[in-house]
Amino acid sequence: MRITNSAIEPDKLRQLLTGDAAGAYVAFEGWIRNANEGQDVLRLEYEVYEPLAVKEGAKIIAEASVKYPILQAECVHREGLLEIGECAVWVGVTSVHRDEAFAACRFIIDEVKVRLPVWKKEYYVNGDSGWVNCERCAAHSSRKATSLRA
């Protein structure tokens, strides 16, 4: 798990995962899109609390390795100001067969979105800006809090 303030280059990152035992490689790239919830987005700013983002990301990858028989997994998340079309997050997974690589990649990106201490501020075409409140993440935290109380 790595946090970077320079451009994510998936072609370079996939080279971290090569190995003769791998029969499948699955990657996910999250990109900055030009609209969110009806608003035209100009750019995005990611704030990351790196010490815990790295720790929590490593934990997620370790969980994926226990849950699925994969060979390797890596994840890189951007911080700072990003323009439309830039890659915000990359996940790459290798395994012997494709099923576990697809499943583990999905698991990692889903957990990264709801568990990493990362926040994004959208800057809109109309000059406004605002922190994105991830509703699904909030629901995830509520469920966890409820189950902890139970």
Binding site: Y49, A88, V112, K113, V114, V118, W119, W131, L148
Partner: protein, 81 residues
């Protein structure tokens, strides 16, 4: 009894508080108490369960006990990816 707690605010919480970090004296037993007692500072209307907390750089539950000298990190709802 009050405890000296160093509180760190992130993203929208920091913008509302106007500072990234401050040390406060609070009658707090748990991390959840810190969040509730500092509502005017972070300005969040979010239920506790929507936010996250860390104590001394370890993710924690809101029910975790806080001690004099702890650093409590208050995280607004996250939105990575």
């Amino acid at each position: 009894m009050n405890k000296n707690i160093t509180v760190r605010y992130f993203a929208g919480f920091r913008e509302h508080a106007g500072v990234g970090e401050e040390t406060v004296s609070l009658p707090a037993a748990t991390a959840g108490d810190v969040y509730e007692l500092l509502k005017d500072r972070h300005g969040s209307q979010e239920p506790l369960g929507h936010c996250k907390v860390a104590i001394n750089d370890e993710m924690a539950d809101w029910s975790a006990e806080v001690f004099d000298g702890d650093t409590v990190l208050l995280f607004p709802p996250v939105a990575g990816g």
